[in-house]
Symmetry: C2
Subunit: 408 residues, 2 copies
């Protein structure tokens, strides 16, 4: 039902597409929603809701669950809407320091297929990593129904990503500087789909806010422990981006002026105390296992005392973050969730010791609600975003038969 | 022209009041605006703009400058709108550590009348300070035209203010904890007007964003140097508040673990290196003059070397702020603007040494565009805010003949 056929003006059509996207966002969030709920959530009348549902059905993204003709004596049961069986999907890429995880994620946030491959220690050349990622993408799309449209690719990067164009300005643990990794992946794939890149902690925050421990909490911070340490900040329900998209680099807050040299060139950044290398040193973990520190910590059977100072440093740094941002919730992601399980008391005590009473009283520390998938699911969310902004446009440019195209 | 008389629905009336407020905000910002500019700025048609102007005229807040009947051969000159000669005003209070400044500020942001009084060192009892402030308010409203409506009072506090109700949770240099200062001032005044309280740095940021060095810049930080050090953060054009309204307490970022004891109970907070007491110690300024450190620094004729370490500490702390928030502009307020003039090179070098290259490349340090009035004018802005949200409601509850009432 295009604007021309309905004779709608440009503005009305824009409002309609916005409403379609909003409805789809609700179905994406809940999996299944009744029309009555949609009416209440969206503040639109029943006939407008019914029209929007019909259009989403015709776009192939939702299905109706109860025929609208069904009636009972006590009033009409509200028809339901659920995600289509063969609906649109995205590719989510979580680029770690030692491995890439790639997933096919359906609308609704379910990981349908997943593939992982190691990447060379220190990142390796960007084109080689791009080629590895492209190979993983081929694997996860192979089994996708030919009719299911691919909307785009979302990529998480452990580093600073320029908001305007997704350029990777700096990914220290991959040893990358100014790399247009999105174009590299597209070149290796040989197809043209929308690609979005973002910082790993920002994506962890996004996913935890939408689907994890932070649902309904508008001031939250996700701290990523991924060799280095960074923060994704959501404030007033909105991502704190800063002027260029780089906000949240809390790993480089000053911490120990007489401490270790940081890769950024300074001495004693917080990351030099709570980063993976420092923790590995504290527990005598070999350098080769630093990149899998979360697993090492999960299996740790050494003396708890070896980690006490690290726990205290984590809590003191969190106090600085609480003072600066006044979050309601701080989610400890990556290996920091494993660390927190081991030294919870030290972290809590050190936080309470250093944070100002007013911001301290309303903050909670939490483990990720999405486990180790926060960042991956955040990458899926940014790839889905154009669908919620304008489903008609996003589906119009989506690719079908992706398996066939990529195999060919 | 009320909703009833025009037969408008509640929604339409709300939209109309919103538009009236938006128009008034434009006139407040620019002082004088043409109808053609208003048409362009607000995206409304000429007849709607003309209606809104007429309603603002009938509310007594603006005047028209060119009769709409005036015509010339080459098209009709656009009539102008300017602020009314006898328009609404607010009271702004800048509560410092040693003195209170109170101003009568007209719509448009002009300080019409100003009065200052010392307050006891260490703040004194809150009721005594409230009584001092009420006395200053009486002085500044004395000369106000009887017909001019008082909209409300905005108060800046050097401390943590709870967003929900304006409670002063902690004002360390006033030695206040959990003080409802707004009610205290009203009690001393004996009249009921709306009172808004906020943190000094947040108000500095607001005023510099709207009318000072940060006009048009949506990611800016104002650092207040007011015995202690705090930040007001605007990100994406919106104030970063945090869960309770306490965000921006950067004075308590960890900085020198082996350093001085901070009044917050910790050791080596950034404030212990760049706060007024530390600077006074560095230049041998007597403790009694710490509260007027800006003036002391403006007159400083001692060796520049005495301040070099302070300049470096300021730059290093600013680097942490730049890494955490990625601002486009950092405004150095209070005595920090005097300090910056003396040790600019040390500050700039230390910032460049410690900030990550990506956020560093787009940040600028600046002095306040509003001089020493940023915080005072920010207090006026929050008192004006209800007028821009709904001029009809705000003017409906405003007080007239305030001088007479307060004298009586």
């Amino acid at each position: 039902m295009t604007a021309q056929r309905r004779g709608l003006g440009t503005n009305q059509e824009a409002v309609r597409r916005h409403n379609l996207g909003t409805m789809l966002r609700h179905v994406h969030g809940a999996g299944q929603v009744s029309r009555a709920q949609l009416t209440a959530l969206m503040g639109l009348n029943r006939s407008t809701i019914a029209d929007l549902v019909l259009e989403l059905v015709s776009l192939g993204v939702v299905e109706q669950t109860v025929p609208t003709a069904a009636r009972s004596g006590a009033g009409r049961p509200s028809a339901g809407v659920r995600l289509a069986e063969v609906g649109p999907y995205v590719i989510a890429v979580d680029l770690g320091v030692d491995r890439a995880v790639v997933a096919r994620v359906a609308l609704g946030g379910e990981v349908v297929e997943r593939a992982t491959a190691p990447i060379p220690s220190g990142g390796g050349e960007a084109w080689q990593v791009g080629s590895t990622v492209a190979g993983l993408i081929r694997r996860v799309v192979e089994g996708a129904p030919a009719a299911a449209p691919l909307l785009g690719v979302g990529i998480s990067v452990p580093g600073l990503v320029r908001r305007s164009d997704g350029l990777v300005r700096l990914a220290p643990n991959l040893e990358w500087q100014d790399v247009s990794f999105g174009s590299i992946v597209l070149a290796a794939l040989g197809v043209d789909v929308p690609v979005q890149l973002a910082n790993d902690a920002d994506l962890g925050a996004l996913a935890e806010h939408r689907r994890g421990a932070g649902v309904g909490i508008d001031d939250l911070i996700y701290i990523s422990g991924n060799v280095g340490v960074g923060a994704g900040v959501i404030t007033g329900g909105v991502r704190l981006e800063g002027a260029g998209g780089y906000a949240g680099e809390v790993g480089h807050l000053p911490f120990a002026p007489e401490g270790r040299l940081c890769h950024c060139g300074n001495v004693g950044c917080w990351e030099t105390e709570v980063g993976a290398h420092a923790i590995a040193e504290a527990i005598g973990c070999p350098e080769s296992e630093v990149v899998t520190l979360g697993d090492v910590l999960d299996a740790y059977a050494g003396p708890p005392s070896a980690l006490r100072a690290t726990g205290t440093a984590l809590g003191h740094g969190l106090a600085a973050i609480v003072n600066a941002f006044n979050p309601r919730l701080v989610v400890l992601g990556g290996y920091l969730s494993s660390l927190y399980a081991l030294v919870r008391r030290e972290v809590d005590d050190a936080l309470a010791e250093r944070a100002l009473p007013a911001p301290l009283e309303s903050v909670t520390l939490a483990l990720p609600g999405l486990g180790s998938d926060s960042v991956l699911l955040g990458a899926a969310e940014i790839a889905l975003e154009p669908l919620f902004a304008d489903p008609v446009a996003a589906l119009g440019t989506a690719l079908v038969d992706v398996g066939g195209r990529l195999a060919g």
